[in-house]
């Protein structure tokens, strides 16, 4: 046919105020009817100058600011920063503190994954699994509040130790939670994972191949969803992770292709189970004797000169902290740079959101699980 009906592309701004952009992300969609021809993410609506801020703050004072980066996994952020500073200062943290860090870190990983798969389900349209999972998240918050004093922004893991000690009662409660959590997770899993509509919506959608994932710097569950077996807890163990027995779930394309949204989703559910395993082992191993403030430095006046890069596995992937210290009597870092996993995950949107439908953009965005606080910092 020679005569072609001309159609115009419609440019739609998805966000910054939109129910499922997970914060203040703006996506500029160029659509042909329902089909997205191009998708460009615009960031920076939540930029709070975290890195610049650090240059005028004491090392201890930076920790509450790291809470606010990835506000869904504050513990892991605290931890990443502390690992960097401890590496620079050469502090060896006591075993009790490490156990505590592992427990709260993994609890927070579960809480973060609950948000990830819960809101993913919400984006697809299933409301109930989201709320059922949130009940468990509340329980985790209760535990973390008892340990640290806050429900979301903990400021719990300090350089050289942790902020507060826990008692045997808390350990018992955590153990009880672990037992209660398993059936609750199974319920959500049953409700959502294999549901035909859910599978239709997520399998074979937003496929990120192994090569693509690596070249875009994917880390964490997103990378493992694409079939790469890489987890810093196993491959470059820090803290006590060599002691625990756990598996790294890897996407296998059970419902569609390797690296589709369903794979990224199911990895998170399975990782929750592994985290529970780790917590249970840590609860066995921990002893309540010992001082948690033992290795906490009194001040940072004797900070060595130098630079350090440390990375750790947060729920969203590999968080790298780069700190330059001027040393001597300056108790503030000269420069702090954060390599945030969500930022790298977000950058793939432009490539995989071509030729999909508007509903798929939502699914893809939900499945890569970004937190804008961490993207913009």
């Amino acid at each position: 046919m020679e005569h072609k009906i001309e159609t115009d592309f419609m440019i739609i701004n998805m966000g910054p105020q939109h129910p499922s952009t997970h914060g203040v992300l703006r996506l500029e969609l160029k659509t042909d009817g329902e089909i997205v021809m191009a998708c460009r993410p615009f960031l920076g609506y939540l930029h709070r100058c975290f890195e610049k801020h650090c240059e005028s703050l004491d090392y201890l004072k930076i920790i509450p600011f790291t809470d606010r980066m990835d506000y869904l996994a504050s513990m892991n952020n605290n931890w990443a920063f502390c690992i960097a500073i401890e590496k620079l200062m050469g502090i060896k943290v006591s075993e009790k503190c490490e156990y505590l860090r592992v427990i709260v870190g993994e609890l927070n990983r579960i809480a973060s994954h609950i948000i990830a798969f819960g809101t993913f389900g919400l984006d697809i349209g299933a409301f109930t699994p989201f709320l059922l999972a949130f009940i468990q998240r509340e329980k985790i918050f209760d535990l973390l509040e008892e340990a640290s004093g806050a429900r979301m922004l903990y400021n719990y893991i300090w350089v050289g130790g942790v902020a507060r000690d826990v008692d045997g009662d808390w350990l018992k409660k955590t153990k009880k939670f672990c037992q209660e959590f398993k059936p609750a997770l199974d319920e959500v899993d049953e409700l959502l994972s294999l549901n035909k509509i859910f599978v239709e919506r997520t399998a074979n959608v937003g496929v990120v191949t192994k090569e693509m994932a690596i070249s875009y710097g994917f880390t964490g569950p997103n990378l493992r969803g694409s079939g790469v077996n890489w987890d810093l807890r196993k491959n470059e163990p820090y803290s006590l992770y060599t002691k625990f027995d756990f598996n790294i779930p890897v996407g296998a394309g059970e419902q569609g292709q390797v690296g589709d949204c369903w794979d990224r989703y199911i990895i998170r559910i399975r990782e929750c189970r592994e985290s529970i395993k780790i917590i249970e082992q840590a609860l066995e191993g921990i002893s309540l004797e010992g001082d948690i403030y033992e290795t906490v430095p009194k001040n940072f006046n004797k900070m060595p000169k130098g630079e350090v890069y440390a990375r750790s596995e947060t729920p969203r992937g590999e968080m790298g902290i780069y700190v330059v210290s001027e040393g001597g009597k300056a108790p503030v870092p000269y420069r702090v740079k954060v390599r945030s996993p969500a930022f790298c995950s977000l950058s793939i949107l432009e490539e995989i959101c071509k030729g999909v439908m508007i509903s798929d953009v939502i699914a893809i965005l939900g499945s890569v699980d970004i937190v804008l606080g961490e993207v913009d910092r």
Partner: protein
């Protein structure tokens, strides 16, 4: 004046007014919506004439089907928010003259016809049964022919649609 006359006047005004909007409004979307209401009014007239089945069909086919299709087509075109019809004034005189002549001819026909006004005292009877019987009885051949025609049109549409899609891919 009986209520029926009153209703008729309302419906007739609706149809004619909407017809004017269809022709004269500069925004094509208004024309489309007006066409829809015009169809709706015609459906009302059918009810007034005791043709209930026909009225239902009018609603389901013209209002629910054809108008929506037209609206759909308009909404999918580009620049939908300020789409206007082209108004060229080259043919104004000829066009006006033709339509006036046509109107005059129609009027003459209407006034010269000897309309037989039948006043029935019988109750309203449903038409569905009779229509069904007519379709399956005396008029089976035209009915089937229409069905075949529609089928051909349907298949043709599918084939045209497919071709275009192949090109795109």
């Amino acid at each position: 004046m009986v209520p029926a006359d009153f209703v008729f006047l309302i419906l007739a005004t609706l149809i004619v007014a909407c017809g004017f909007v269809v022709v004269f409004h500069s925004k094509i979307i208004y024309s489309a919506f007006a066409l829809l209401f015009s169809f709706f009014g015609v459906g009302g007239i059918y009810i007034l004439l005791n043709a209930d089945f026909l009225a239902g069909t009018q609603l389901i086919v013209y209002v629910g089907g054809i108008s929506v299709l037209i609206l759909f087509g308009i909404l999918l075109t580009k620049k939908i928010y300020n789409l206007t019809t082209e108004e060229t004034s080259t043919q104004k005189i000829i066009g006006g003259a033709t339509s006036l002549a046509f109107l005059g001819a129609l009027a003459a026909l209407i006034f010269n016809t000897d309309w037989q006004i039948v006043t029935t005292t019988q109750e309203f009877t449903p038409q569905t049964l009779e229509i069904g019987k007519a379709f399956m009885g005396n008029f089976i051949l035209p009915f089937e022919l229409a069905a075949i025609l529609l089928l051909v049109a349907l298949i043709g549409a599918v084939i045209i649609g497919r071709d275009e899609k192949k090109e795109e891919i």
